[in-house]
Symmetry: C2
Subunit: 314 residues, 2 copies
């Protein structure tokens, strides 16, 4: 479930996508209406699967943006679905479908997808950073997602990297999201241009919105401001990654999301900070790689979460 689209897939027990549908998520609708739309997409997918001779789904997993109480299946806040504040999504979907449903945070699901079928296969300690409009995170420790007390762990976009830095959408300042996400980069460009100058047309997409992809093309053509912005973003991304290395001693840092396409332009500044700040013995054991699955990562991971549900221990 994303801000624009719902992607819905039939995934085999070994993690292969057998069937994939995409539909508008209609995220602006009321909270129950958005949930009903998800349920309708799941039913439509199951119908299509049945027509192709596949059986009934063994388990249903849904990946949603935003902090989530994973044990109760309650969405605490969703950046794209304003109506979901403390919304009992799992109970709602289970009522609509008459079946058990597993709900997981989208970045956690993506991490599981990469772990199961993507860049992190064969590794047990993995940190995923998703660089998009904001920054999300998924933590795998010893082969399991870190959920924390109520499933809200992994808010890696909100690691402070510059105490008095750029304002962040979360209300704080100097979070890594305020630099290395597309909204952060947009703010960096705007700050550099000053209040009176408009965003350069070459940084906009066809709809007139700021686009990291467009800015990446400019960087390729040696555009100074684009290169400078990516360098600042890369520096702060590197600071956050260095802290994550020292905290987790992981096998892998996996970087995904729309902004990851700009990594070649961020890597030099990023690597310099990692080298300066992470323990040498830790950094030497970890690779920093691109995610392999793209937008399908969360869908595959939602299936993994459905097949391997977590239980609150203790």
């Amino acid at each position: 479930m994303g801000g624009t689209n719902i992607r819905c897939a039939a995934v085999s027990p070994s993690g292969r996508v057998m069937l994939l549908r995409r539909a508008p998520s209609e995220a602006g609708a009321s909270a129950p209406a958005v949930a009903s739309n998800i349920a309708a997409q799941i039913r439509a997918l199951e119908d299509a699967a049945r027509r192709r001779g596949m059986g009934r789904a063994r388990a249903i997993g849904v990946a949603v943006p935003g902090p989530l109480d994973v044990y109760r299946g309650v969405v605490m806040a969703a950046p794209h679905v304003k109506a979901w504040r403390g919304f009992p999504l799992r109970a709602r979907l289970e009522a609509e479908l008459g079946r058990h449903v597993v709900v997981e945070n989208d970045a956690n699901a993506w991490a599981l997808g990469e772990f199961w079928r993507g860049a992190a296969r064969g590794h047990r300690d993995v940190v995923l950073l998703t660089l998009g409009t904001g920054i999300g995170g998924g933590l795998i420790v010893g082969g399991k997602i870190v959920h924390g007390r109520s499933g809200m762990a992994g808010e890696l976009g909100h690691i402070t990297v510059e105490p008095e830095g750029m304002p962040c959408d979360c209300g704080s300042r100097g979070c890594v999201e305020a630099y290395a996400s597309s909204s952060g980069m947009r703010a960096l460009v705007a700050r550099r241009l000053g209040a009176r100058k408009r965003m350069p047309a070459q940084y906009l997409d066809r709809d007139g919105n700021f686009s990291v992809r467009a800015m990446t093309s400019c960087a390729r053509a040696h555009d100074r401001l684009a290169l400078e912005t990516f360098s600042i973003a890369g520096r702060y991304l590197g600071i956050a990654i260095a802290s994550l290395l020292n905290i987790f001693n992981p096998d892998l840092i996996v970087i995904g999301g729309g902004v990851a396409g700009a990594l070649p332009h961020m890597r030099k500044a990023m690597t310099a900070e990692v080298r300066a700040r992470a323990f040498v013995a830790i950094a030497a054991q970890a690779r920093i790689v691109r995610a392999a699955l793209g937008p399908i990562g969360g869908v595959v991971g939602a299936a993994y979460a459905a097949i391997n549900p977590v239980r609150r221990q203790g």
Copy 2:
């Protein structure tokens, strides 16, 4: 095993300390000599236990400072035992004692001690910060220590909190250790006084060394520089804690170590940063508390680690 003393205890299966010995650690000796001294202390403790009618130890755990390859039992680097660089401590102790030995990082062991018998009893997601000469960390996720790829996870003192900040002993800049440890506070005071002024006598202990405890007494008497220093330290400790809350969504942040006595003077600045930077829903679920066990925490946790050894999975 500490820089000054070896504490050696017979611990019951329920975590009670039955017998406790203390001996100089002689950390300046050669690498094998320091290890032999540990083995000798363990043998002496077992002899004393036997004389009191206790049986042979069921398992032997040793907690040591510094990053450690926990799976191979190799000390990568120890701050107080300069000779231990890539030293195969476990193999050495096993050869000397003719028995299986479990080696664990001291901050991890302390976290396990608090989890088993201290401030973190009954909780499953716990972050321990030990504020001493440096800052160590122990992470418990779902009731288990986070070791990472090779056991070096939990270097929480080296989370960057001020990119261009105070130099840190690790070679980087602006680590939280460079502010909220005793060596960090000492440097903050020295910077404030300028190169030519000597450290005020009231901040020194009887041996003429900088002492956070002495400065805490001064703070109680409203000494301005002491209060200011604790406020800066508290601010950066709060920034690190806010990031750790957003990363782990823990039940508890446990703070131990000699510097923790200054917490009352750090708490206001610390809390302000936590409030400003951590997600409200996450911060509301977590308490920030003092460690309950003191120097015995690591000893109790070493026993826990010995009874519940980790295995490299996967």
